[in-house]
Symmetry: C2
Subunit: 312 residues, 2 copies
């Protein structure tokens, strides 16, 4: 299988490249190295079936060059701004990197007759909600530019499926943790404690509670959904049925780093403007395909801390 992974040098994208190569795919990793890092894919550079293409996927001419070379059967479109906070100050970041990028990738795919797309979406399309979120849940009222741009992208994918016969798999990611992360609370806490092992400033009051998923469990879910879900527009939630609070996470990081730090909460129920402070997924749909996470949310957090610290 000839596969393109946009954002392939990023946190999740690089793990996906690993898995696709392992199962025998020819992989074109397209990345502008804005958030992605060469060091995430350095270990693949001697792999014959791995091709790195420096590419800004918001630019039609660069996409044309990518598709001309790769002629893919499927595109895994993971390129995005994944830093929700950054998008709250400069609104054009998510607009360009999440929405326009998806629109241009769809147009390029259509030009080259490639009609299979996997899209990395997010729980943030929902905004603040109550109860477990199932796939068909409405209304969708995002409260972050990140969530809005991903919902806009989902909307356009829906049209390409109907108008041009695309097959699309939209997987709505939860918070994902693991080695190679570039941001997020776990990464953030480790960095902060590295700078000052006695004091950890935590945004909010620590009660924000969400499901965390280990990155390799997520990659398994991506491969499974694309293999098993045959509907033209397959929308799936993926995550953990268990939850972890920010307070627990901070305590795990402190414990695993072996430091004696005082936790200082900035207060308020939200980490930042646009932060959804609690959500729960209904994941029965993806479980019915045969996927389950290998560990609980809190186990995933601890495993990630240990991986990032090089303890595992």
């Amino acid at each position: 299988m000839r596969s393109v992974v946009t954002g392939g040098a990023g946190f999740i994208g690089s793990h996906l490249c690993d898995a696709l190569l392992e199962r025998g795919d020819n992989v074109w990793c397209a990345d502008n190295l804005y958030l992605g890092k060469k060091e995430n894919i350095d270990h693949l550079s001697f792999e014959e079936r791995f091709h790195f293409v420096l590419c800004d996927v918001t630019k039609p001419d660069e996409l044309d060059a990518l598709f001309e070379e790769s002629r893919p059967e499927i595109v895994y479109h993971l390129a995005a701004n994944s830093d929700i906070q950054a998008g709250s100050t400069d609104h054009t970041i998510d607009l360009r990197l999440n929405f326009i990028s998806t629109y241009e990738v769809l147009e390029a795919m259509n030009r080259f007759g490639c009609k299979k797309i996997f899209f990395a979406s997010t729980s943030a399309v929902f905004g603040e909600t109550e109860g477990r979120l199932f796939e068909e849940y409405g209304p969708l009222r995002p409260i972050s530019f990140y969530g809005a741009s991903k919902l806009a992208a989902e909307s356009y994918i829906s049209v390409f499926v109907d108008n041009y016969g695309f097959q699309a798999w939209i997987l709505r990611f939860p918070n994902v943790v693991g080695e190679r992360a570039t941001h997020g609370a776990v990464y953030d806490f480790i960095m902060k404690l590295g700078r000052d092992p006695h004091r950890l400033v935590v945004l909010g009051d620590g009660t924000q509670t969400k499901p965390y998923l280990y990155v390799k469990d997520l990659v398994d879910a991506i491969l499974l959904v694309v293999e098993k879900a045959s509907e033209p527009l397959a929308v799936y939630h993926v995550g953990n049925e268990t939850l972890t609070s920010v307070r627990e996470m901070a305590e795990i990081v402190i414990e695993e780093m072996g430091v004696d730090a005082f936790i200082e909460y900035t207060g308020g129920s939200k980490g930042w403007v646009g932060d959804v402070n609690r959500f729960e997924y209904d994941i029965s749909k993806i479980k019915s395909l045969g996927w389950t996470p290998s560990c609980t949310s809190t186990e995933a957090v601890r495993l990630s801390v240990r991986k990032i610290l090089g303890k595992e």
Copy 2:
């Protein structure tokens, strides 16, 4: 009240300008005259409280000039490409005129501290569905670039409400009919029969069935929703509980024009790619505010034909 109406020289926009002036507002009508027409607002040119501003609302500098002059308390954002078919060939039309315009209007409002927006949305955000559509219905899977661009715009409005304290009224329009229409089946049939009174070519098989609303009923709904709905993000469906088929509509136009035309159906259940061939709204939410349409869907169609023909 100082009010801006974007797309104010268009079909629905010009009727809204009429109604706002009648109730005493100072109205700034912003239009690039791409679909809007000077003749729709010519009758307002001697009105002291009416101000026409030639403005492309996708351009921040032109919006700045508009806001500098008008300093509005509320923006009625109706500027859009409203021709769904046109968007299916050139995808950038809806992207720019419906989505980017909304994004830029929101940003301009934020710069000038204007935080009340009325937004003209559409049933097309839903795509193909079954049963009556209520406001919180999910999933949203548009099948036209028009619907996708409006859903993308709704998503961004949701974020401005949460992050910047905007108050927004999103009214999802059905098919709207009446004098000053620039396209749509009623307008299209009249034009075709004007050219050839013996033969009417109708796209699809005539069974497409939808609720049609008379434009002045819609304008009443706009004013009422903005006056009565106090939630920060007020989403309402507006329409008729009765429906009209394309076949009935063709027959009404032929009868009212007094011609003896043969109807030729192109076949298939859809008028064009991206056409939703049937939908029904649940309008109990807007009815609870005190609004009801003044006539049925089929009466609205007949009234519009007579108005366009100058018979009423």
